[in-house]
């Protein structure tokens, strides 16, 4: 029985056709024998097909932020089971996981508010093309294009950031549930690394608040979020094996 699965990165490289011949053959052989990886590959293909079919720019509705806030508020109200008498261990772990997820969602919501999530969306929404505001000057065309591009990228990022934070919160909850089975030194390393990444994200995010259209910052933030998820995924797999 196959117990080690191909990473999403390698599956992505396989789909991109960038693997070496040997690697491609090995992946193909594994896929032929592993239903789970086959499902992952299909999911990745579907995701890419959806991404490719998606419009390149999405005009945001004017009431975007209230909708986001409502969605976050809904997540924030996750019910946390109360202890009745002595907790059984699995129940305690599950409760801890839910509590962390709820607290993380609340923290995400607060960070989004305090670090300019609303301001970013407001900025993006207010930076409408000049033509949309009745300014038909040709001199504004270049700036208009940049604004439109920056606004789209920013809105994509805000949505992406929410997904990153949600996934990270879920992985953190999983990790928290595994904490008792990990060596203290391992836990310390993971926490130290997560703090390093969180600090970097906060610093870049603050810079983005000051300069919402900065494409380089958006790309850096996305890359750092990816690193955080990768670290969390690896940390949650430390206990897996045979």
């Amino acid at each position: 029985m196959t117990t080690t699965h191909i990473s999403v990165e390698i599956l992505g490289d396989y789909l991109d056709g960038v693997l070496s011949d040997g690697a491609r053959r090995d992946v193909a052989a594994h896929l032929a024998a592993c239903a789970e990886c086959g499902r992952r590959l299909e999911a990745l293909e579907r995701l890419r097909a959806h991404a490719a079919a998606a419009p390149r720019a999405i005009a945001p509705p004017d009431d975007l932020w209230p909708a986001i806030r409502a969605a976050i508020a809904e997540r924030k109200t996750v019910a946390v089971p109360r202890a009745a008498g002595a907790w059984r261990r699995p129940a305690a772990l599950a409760a801890a996981a839910l509590l962390i997820a709820a607290v993380s969602s609340l923290a995400t919501w607060r960070i989004a508010r305090t670090r300019g999530g609303a301001e970013l969306v407001a900025t993006a929404a207010s930076s409408r093309p000049a033509s949309a505001r009745g300014d038909t000057s040709r001199d504004t065309n270049s700036k208009t294009n940049r604004d439109t591009s920056g606004r789209s990228a920013l809105l994509r990022y805000v949505t992406l950031e929410r997904d990153y934070d949600r996934t990270a919160a879920e992985l953190r909850a999983t990790l928290e549930a595994q904490r008792a089975t990990l060596a203290p030194a391992t836990v310390a390393t993971v926490e130290r690394s997560l703090r390093t990444i969180d600090d970097a994200i906060a610093e870049a995010r603050a810079a983005l608040d000051r300069d919402p259209g900065n494409q380089a910052l958006l790309q850096m933030l996305t890359a750092t979020h990816e690193q955080r998820l990768d670290l969390l995924r690896r940390a949650t797999h430390i206990q897996s094996g045979a």
Binding site: T4, S20, G22, A23, A183, S193, A204, A242
Partner: protein, 309 residues
């Protein structure tokens, strides 16, 4: 039937002989590592030359050496309570040490495993592990939490993941991915396709004269130092938040260079070009020679230094 029985007998004798030879040759090395308290373990099994082997050691060290036989041989010192196990077939096999009474036991053990050079080997160990691999030309997938991974040779594929461990690679796997959170990743070689990622660990790549077709090196706060050259038409990407990026290119490199930093500095000794500050970032783009290869550097506040070897 008798031929088959005879072949099986010969194989058994060969395995026993190989195991005995390994045990004798390894005895001094194992004895030197006296910190491991336990009892000797060993065994051997047939494994196809291109078979798969998974090695599990809860805690301790693993030395894997490729050899030109279609079998594996294991010798080692197991911590008290731990037990050597084998499982699987000659196409795909598991071997490892585990403690039946306490799966999370942290007592260190040490094993040496000879494997068919062309096999695919997967190793997983825990904290304070030492994994040494040499002579494997198939695939390698190495996972540790803390400690050190040292690979010598050029396996077809090499994937290393560590949490707190240092990774050192001496060779040029065709495909290489190495990750560590706080550990340092050092590469002496020029893989065709390489990706290295750390959180705070330094990344040091000395590719020598060998060109790298596709390279991506990223760290959050760790410094990145690259010495070498991209292949013609190849790409090298460097990405840090606050880690410094130091790139030393061979004199003959033709490349298009694109550096962006939000709050870092750029020290360019590759050309007369100087970074231009727009409203947002510092950006430096220039072409060396005829261009063609692409080198991209992006930092938030990490210093960027570009120079010749």
């Amino acid at each position: 039937m008798s031929v088959s029985a005879s072949a099986a007998r010969r194989r058994t004798i060969a395995l026993v002989g190989a195991f005995a030879a390994l045990a004798l040759s390894s005895a001094p090395a194992l004895a030197q590592r006296a910190e491991v308290k336990g009892y000797p373990v060993g065994g051997g099994r047939a494994l196809d030359a291109d078979g798969s082997l998974r090695i599990f050691v809860l805690n301790g060290s693993v030395r894997v050496t490729g050899w030109s036989r279609d079998s594996i041989a294991v010798v080692g010192v197991a911590a008290p309570g731990q037990q050597l196990f084998f499982g699987g077939t000659r196409r795909a096999m598991k071997v490892g040490l585990w403690d039946r009474s306490d799966p999370s036991a942290q007592l260190p053990s040490r094993v040496e495993v000879r494997v068919p050079a062309g096999s695919r080997v997967w190793v997983k160990t825990g904290y304070e592990a030492e994994v040494d691999v040499s002579g494997v030309t198939g695939g390698l997938d190495l996972n540790i939490v803390g400690g050190r991974v040292h690979v010598v040779g050029s396996p077809r594929e090499l994937n290393v993941e560590a949490m707190d461990g240092d990774v050192e690679i001496e060779g040029s796997p065709a495909w290489l991915r190495a990750k560590s959170a706080t550990g340092r990743v050092t590469l002496h070689g020029a893989p065709e396709d390489v990706g290295v990622s750390t959180v705070s660990g330094a990344i040091v790549v000395d590719a020598g004269r060998g060109p790298v077709a596709r390279g991506r090196f990223e760290s959050v706060t760790g410094d990145v130092r690259f010495t070498g050259a991209p292949a013609r038409g190849g790409t090298l990407d460097f990405d840090t938040h606050s880690g410094a990026v130091d790139i030393r290119l061979a004199a003959t490199v033709d490349a298009d260079v694109d550096v962006t930093t939000v709050a870092g500095t750029v020290d360019n000794a590759l050309s007369a070009a100087r970074p231009a500050a727009d409203m947002r970032n510092q950006r430096l783009t220039f072409t060396i020679g005829d261009g063609g290869a692409r080198i991209g550097v992006r930092t938030f506040k990490g210093a960027v230094r570009l120079r010749r070897e």
